[in-house]
């Protein structure tokens, strides 16, 4: 069981910045204006707005999810190479991208 080679304090600092941006994005979604009469395009505009809002919400969620996994590294819950790779290997080039 090879222990991972990481500076946890530094990792905590850089992950915190991504978490702050992801939380700011989530907070911003709550500021969606609650009404805008689009006249004849009143069915198409909400479709587009929902697509943008859901996508931004998902961007925030996935980033917060990544930060939560990194937190487990910082807190030593994921302590070995095998554990971290198991949590994150779905994104290796062979499978994604």
């Amino acid at each position: 069981m090879t222990k991972i080679s990481v500076s946890r304090d530094e990792l905590n600092e850089i992950v915190k910045k991504s978490r702050t941006e992801a939380e700011s994005l989530r907070d911003m979604l709550s500021g969606l204006p609650t009404g805008a009469d689009g006249g004849r395009a009143s069915d198409k505009i909400p479709f587009i707005i929902r697509a943008a809002v859901e996508a931004a919400g998902l961007a925030s969620d996935i980033s917060l999810g990544l930060c939560a996994i990194a937190d487990e590294v910082v807190e030593d819950q994921l302590a070995t190479e095998a554990e971290v790779v198991e949590a994150l290997d779905n994104f290796s080039h062979e499978n994604f991208g």
Binding site: T2, I4, S5, S7, E10, L11, I14, K17, S18, E21, A22, S24, L25, R26, M28, L29, G31, L32, P33, T34, G35, A36, D37, G38, G39, R40, K44, I45, P46, F47, I48, R50, A51, A52, V53, E54, A55, G57, L58, S60, I62, S63, L64, G65, L66, A68, I69, E72, E81, V85, E86, A87, L88, D89, N90, F91, S92, N95, F96, G97
Partner: protein, 379 residues
């Protein structure tokens, strides 16, 4: 008979919505994208080995998946601004029609121009003058007023038909491609499914319930939009029933096929209830995407493309997709690619020919220049 000069829609509220999309939402999304890239790069100094590499690959893949979101928000904002400006210019133009109508002895009530009624004719004995012809304002109308009023009424009818026909065409041209681009987010949906695989507990602890805060706002937005659509449809009926000059399809703008395709698109969009998830529900999006493609093709049903789409869907459903060792049934990147191609069928060569000018100057500014709306250009 009458011509309705009302134009439903709130340009000021649409501008507020556009400003929220961009710069607010688009810049914050871009900031998150950039920070993820920095996080991946910075981690090289603090995290080594196979685990560090996996973290960087994951972070960069997530950043890539997020990348289209700010571009979409920004493009949507530009189109909504241009649309708002178009409505405002239309409302100003129709106000001018109303003013001119009043000055030409036409009756205008609640922004509806009444068709002129010919003055009564009299059999006059020799040597007598006909009685004065009083208008509804109590003033005497000059001889020949009716012919002038009728001529203006017919001109307004033609201009109103043209304006609405052009607006419908504009909506098809600019809003429909944005609807088609809902597939831009398939990689993001896929990335989220991939990250969740094996990490369900960790992720659900930070994201569950959080989306409820903005979901309720979005549902309220959608509920109000549903009412606005009902109002707009009522207005369309009133416009068409007001005068036979406006009641028939404007043939230079609409073919029967296009009218039918638009109806099918309306029905597909109407099927989406407030609060329904959109980007993660491929089946739901595809109905709309096929209808979008048909309208963009002028109503010539893209049956070959629809058939291709159906075939791909069947294959995806039968086999599922295996990504990262997890079978992701319902997450279908190839479908998104094909659906994107279906939508692209509708893109005409003229759009591509104008690419240089269009890519350099935002749509709302280009249209303001075309309309001589210098106040908007230089504000």
């Amino acid at each position: 008979m009458y011509i309705d000069l009302n134009i439903p829609g709130d340009p000021v509220a649409l501008h507020t919505l556009a400003d929220w999309l961009s710069p607010d939402l688009s810049e914050q999304t871009h900031e998150l994208y950039s920070q993820l890239r920095r996080t991946a790069a910075d981690s090289q100094m603090w995290w080594f080995g196979q685990a560090g590499s996996a973290f960087r690959e994951t972070t960069n893949a997530i950043a890539d998946a997020i990348d289209p979101v700010d571009v979409y928000a920004s493009d949507a904002a530009t189109v909504i601004r241009a649309y708002a400006n178009r409505l405002r210019r239309g409302q100003d133009k129709f106000d001018e029609f109303a003013d001119k109508a009043v000055k030409t002895w036409l009756i205008v009530k609640n922004s509806q121009v009444q068709a002129p009624i010919p003055p009564p004719t009299y059999i006059i004995a020799q040597g007598q003058t006909p009685p004065p012809d009083y208008g509804p304002d109590g003033k005497v109308r000059p001889a020949g007023w009716y012919e002038q009023a009728l001529s203006l009424y017919e001109q307004i009818a033609e201009d109103v038909v043209n304006w609405w026909g052009e607006l419908d065409r504009w909506i098809d041209e600019y809003f429909l491609p944005l609807m088609g681009r809902v597939t831009d987010f398939e990689p993001l949906v896929l990335a989220y499914e991939v990250l969740k695989t094996g990490n369900e507990l960790t992720i659900s602890s930070v994201v569950e319930l959080k989306s409820a805060e903005w979901e309720s706002n979005l549902r309220e937005f959608e509920d109000k939009a549903k009412q606005a659509k009902i109002d707009a449809d009522t207005h369309r009926e009133r416009l068409r029933s007001g005068d036979p000059r406006i009641s028939g399809p404007a043939s230079k703008f609409e073919t029967p096929e296009l009218v039918e395709a638009r109806k099918e698109l309306d029905a597909a969009v109407d099927n989406i209830k407030s609060g329904t998830k959109l980007i993660s529900r491929v089946g739901l999006g595809l109905d709309v995407l096929v209808a979008v493609a048909d309208v963009m093709n002028g109503g010539s049903a893209s049956s070959a493309a629809a058939g291709l789409l159906g075939g791909t869907l069947g294959g995806a459903a039968a086999g599922g997709l295996v990504v990262g060792g997890a079978a992701l049934v319902g997450v279908t990147l190839p479908v998104a690619v094909v659906a994107g191609a279906v939508v692209l069928v509708g893109w005409g060569a003229s759009e591509l020919a104008e690419w240089g000018w269009e890519s350099a100057v935002p749509l709302d500014i280009r249209e303001a220049i075309d309309a001589g709306d210098w106040g908007y250009v230089f504000e």
